[in-house]
């Protein structure tokens, strides 16, 4: 089966000639959450705008379901319908002071019948838990609420691929959990392919199925989160770090000589590992 979205040797340069993306080859499997990790300025946002056709690559390809994207009007419209972007700052995305109207925008642009748009708006509001916000003006919403409305505004287009730029930035810990659960639910119930750019390392082992490390416009590393955490030097060289739990386990292994297997990065995995070690000790 083809990956939902992939890039082959994608290059992009800004107008002033600086290279932003340098032969990026990556793919996001259908119905998975793929993390794009990288420091500020690593090229994550630029990559995303290429995936949605707002930027046109200098060379290389973006493939949707195995088919290269065409950059004519029809091709771009189709690309934007199938690949939705949620921007980092919801104030960049919410242009209307009315929640309902903002969410409906993408649906109307698809040229759907009003009834169908309304159905989708209701569904998107329902999914993102923002139904109760429809009677409030946009400027009266909290940051987290705006973020959810922004997601609803993209869901209304029923994209196959959902791209989120720093979805957890600026949210309180519960807000982070809520947004990430929403994404997991979209993946599991709709089979949506989700890409998230982040440098919030602690969410990666919990929610990402696969991850890429981006640095200086290149893919430096790829693999499951566990694969990436087995290479902490690369993360650190790119202004990132291990998740706190993985770091703890690393310290236990290196400084205290604990014989841990692999690189447990979540509380659950670390707990299993520690219990296993304790049991082994009892036996000895």
């Amino acid at each position: 089966m083809n990956p939902a979205i992939e890039t082959k040797e994608l290059c992009y340069a800004y107008e002033d000639g600086t290279t932003a993306l340098d032969h990026i080859t990556l793919s996001a499997g259908r119905g998975s959450i793929t993390g794009i990790l990288g420091a500020n300025g690593a090229g994550k946002s630029t990559l995303f705008l290429n995936l949605n056709g707002v930027f046109t690559p200098k060379s290389g390809q973006v493939l949707l379901d195995g088919q290269p994207v065409k950059y004519d009007r029809k091709g771009l419209a189709a690309l934007r319908r199938r690949v939705g972007i949620v921007f980092q700052d919801p104030d960049d995305q919410l242009f209307s002071a009315d929640v309902y109207r903002d969410v409906s925008f993408g649906g109307v642009n698809l040229g759907l019948e009003p009834e169908e748009v309304r159905r989708r708006v209701e569904e998107a509001l329902e999914r993102t838990g923002t139904s109760a916000l429809r009677d409030r003006p946009t400027h009266a919403l909290s940051y987290g609420q705006k973020k959810r409305v922004a997601i609803a505004g993209v869901l209304v287009m029923e994209p196959e691929v959902l791209i989120l730029d720093e979805p957890t930035a600026g949210l309180d810990p519960q807000g982070v959990t809520e947004i990430m659960r929403l994404l997991v639910q979209l993946r599991d119930s709709l089979g949506m392919t989700i890409l998230i750019a982040t440098h919030d390392m602690d969410i990666v082992p919990l929610y990402c199925d696969y991850a890429y490390l981006l640095g200086g416009g290149r893919v430096l590393l790829e693999g499951t989160p566990d694969d990436l955490f087995a290479n902490p030097e690369a993360l650190r060289a790119n202004h990132l770090r291990l998740p706190r739990i993985a770091h703890l386990m690393e310290v236990l292994r290196q400084a205290d000589g604990l014989d841990t297997h692999g690189a447990p990065a979540t509380i659950g995995a670390a707990r299993r590992e520690i219990l296993r070690l304790l049991k082994e000790e009892e036996k000895v």
């Binding site: 972007i85 921007f87 700052d89 960049d92 242009f95 009315d98 925008f105 109307v108 642009n109 287009m157």
Partner: protein, 259 residues
């Protein structure tokens, strides 16, 4: 802040904006055309009753909002009221200043009262509209009335980003103030200058990011959206006729009473 907050809470919020606009506009035009003390007073009273009874706004809030333009009305009234007259004119009240009398006659008093009441009535009509209709609904109605799209879309965007930019400006101001940016006149002027240029720059950058975000949602040049469900609110139309009829009746009664 402002009337919009109440508009969102109004019981008439879900009523289509067009009949609300019609009621406010008709009452406003009649009030202005009649140009009479009593019609003005009746208009502001009737609007108050409609806003509180239909919209569910507390009376105190309506009275509070009526106080807002009061200062303007009083100043405007006084400039109409006070004239200078040659000594010996029959005046209601006046102060002799040199050779002349500064004060007002009965006619001046009537003139000022008429202006004051007319303006108050007009304000009542506008409040009926703005306290029951969020701006976004109003722009939707303007679009239905074939006001040029570009204008309507600009209004919507400006309205939305007033709040975003106000927040930006408030944050910058706080940051400046926390570093003593507003101590003394010179420094205040300086800081204010930096603030305005920063807000301008941010607005510029914001504009670009918004364009990108709109584009990624399939923007092709028009901000067409669907409004939430409205009730048609046709029952407001007979009410509109009733209000106008009432205003005209008061006008006729006043004319007959004056003779």
């Amino acid at each position: 802040m402002g009337t919009d907050r109440y508009a969102y809470q109004s019981r008439l919020r879900r009523v289509s904006p067009l009949p609300k606009l019609a009621l406010a506009a008709v009452a406003l035009v009649v009030c202005l055309c009649c140009d009479s003390v009593w019609v003005g007073l009746v208009t502001v009273l009737v609007m108050g009753v409609l806003i509180t009874a239909l919209g569910g706004l507390p009376v105190t809030v309506y009275l509070h909002f009526l106080k807002v333009p009061l200062a303007f009305l009083v100043i405007g009234g006084i400039t109409i009221l006070i004239h200078s007259y040659p000594a010996g004119t029959t005046v209601v009240a006046a102060l002799p200043v040199g050779e002349r009398l500064w004060g007002f006659t009965a006619h001046d008093l009537y003139q000022a009262a008429r202006l004051f009441c007319k303006a108050l009535g007009a304000v009542g009509c506008m409040y009926f509209l703005s306290l029951n209709t969020p701006i976004t609904d109003l722009t939707m109605a303007l679009e239905k009335l074939h006001v040029p799209r570009l204008l309507v879309e600009l209004m919507e965007l400006i309205y939305r980003f007033i709040f975003v930019l106000a927040e930006t400006a408030a944050n910058i101001r706080l940051a400046q103030e926390s570093r003593l940016g507003y101590q003394g006149f010179r420094r205040s002027v300086n800081s204010l200058g930096t603030l305005s240029s920063m807000v301008f720059l941010r607005a510029w950058r914001k504009g670009q990011s918004i364009y990108t975000a709109l584009e990624s949602r399939g923007y092709t040049g028009s901000l067409t959206t669907l409004a939430g469900d409205y009730t048609p609110g046709l029952w407001l139309l007979p009410l509109t006729a009733g209000v106008a009829g009432g205003q005209l009746l008061v006008f006729c009664l006043e004319r007959m009473a004056v003779g």
